[in-house]
Symmetry: C2
Subunit: 294 residues, 2 copies
Amino acid sequence: MHQALIKFMEEQKVMLLQEMDDVLGRLDIPNNLKDSMAYSLQAGGKRLRPVLLAASNAAYDSNPKKIQSSALALEMIHTYSLIHDDLPAMDDDDYRRGKLTNHKKFDEATAILAGDALLTYSFELIAGDPELSDTEKVQLIKMLASASGPEGMVAGQILDMEAERKPASLAELERIHALKTGALLEFAIHAGAYLGKASAEQLSHLKEFAHYLGLIFQVQDDLLDVTGDPEKLGKPVGSDVANEKSTYPKLLGLDGAEEMKEIYVQKAKTALVEAGAADSYLMLLIDHISRRDH
Amino acid sequence: MHQALIKFMEEQKVMLLQEMDDVLGRLDIPNNLKDSMAYSLQAGGKRLRPVLLAASNAAYDSNPKKIQSSALALEMIHTYSLIHDDLPAMDDDDYRRGKLTNHKKFDEATAILAGDALLTYSFELIAGDPELSDTEKVQLIKMLASASGPEGMVAGQILDMEAERKPASLAELERIHALKTGALLEFAIHAGAYLGKASAEQLSHLKEFAHYLGLIFQVQDDLLDVTGDPEKLGKPVGSDVANEKSTYPKLLGLDGAEEMKEIYVQKAKTALVEAGAADSYLMLLIDHISRRDH
């Protein structure tokens, strides 16, 4: 992988973890609730969404101080969605990234409430950030709520559950992923560029870029469930086939899915060039995401 | 009850239901998700929080257009908290207000997601309200997130669960209620007065008023569980005793709880006079809440 990208990603992760520590440290709340929120928030992972937000910001007028609260708020929302997803009533998972899921480590009621708390606090964090103007706060909150709420991620979850009961077409599959995963990735890219003062035209091209990046992410996710290394992934493979889930490899075959991914990669790169970000970490992240092994 | 108050409450309810219809109608989301959100949001109830917000606004520079989004956002957050509260992992209730709870009518996964959606959308609603300035939006979102998040309502839920495992003192009981119920009541009163351009001093007295109003609400809730009419309440009585819950009647006896409520009523009235709202619907609401039979 590109050395500069590795360094950039590492730096962003360090800043995110520092901000996380600061915010959790400031929270005056019951111990059990804080432990449960911290457990999932600090469980590791690629921190891809905050990295994308920072990369998008760096492609325009980079302003590291302004993006901290949005990056952490985004990671909080992603984390809440994982906690609620893992619940017995949803995916019923006992492990995530090799660690017990939140409701297994604590209990179901605490996991539900820790998720609710992370979701709620993400908006408080942005609303209280002294680095941002009121207009910036309102725009970011509007975008983040829209991406994660009933017209965004939550809609994706509902459609995903429905799709498990009946086979989905490629178009339906893309719609589900666009909402379930794509909406938050799009927020990351849009928010970073917005805080970097990208123009309306650049933001419009970035929207297209984000759309394809989300699809690349998903095709690779599906491919890894067939061809990935369980040790690197930190979870068993083959679960999609076992669950008879509609996936790219199932609908197009392995070669077809690889070809589709390559088409998306080209479209993402073209959109990025049109957004004036040809020479950016975002460009390097396309290949990073399309070739990731975990 | 005071005729003017009845009329005011009825008017507020009509406006809230109209706003609810408009917002739900605009939402372009999966049917199942919309049905589940609408089911609980339109399940009736006293709409006490929106009424308090409107009454508080009317006590100062009344501005009905400006309060609509906050009133509905508040009711959405209250509704999400009821949906998650009723879940099997939490209170495991099958009925609420004589109707099936959300997870019984739909399923657990849908109920969790409908709650998440209502919570998230409440912030989107305020952030997108064209009647409010950016500064007003930011203040309202900050207050609402703070009241409902890990330092507010969610903390109250966690402490309430812990208190079920060990007996709570009166001081602990008051802290739990202040967070679990009081924080949202306080938001209602603060937000209404803030949008009515109340002064900092008035807001400070209102904070005290809200504190006592929350306690009155809770003492009466506890009393109704002992002396109330199950038909009017729409739920069986005696559950607190059966669950060995710490309540005001249990800690102080029935007469002691009535006396305590009277003290809180006097303190609430004094605070309200000091807030310059002696002649307001808020004043009438004190007696309404302290004497309610459901």
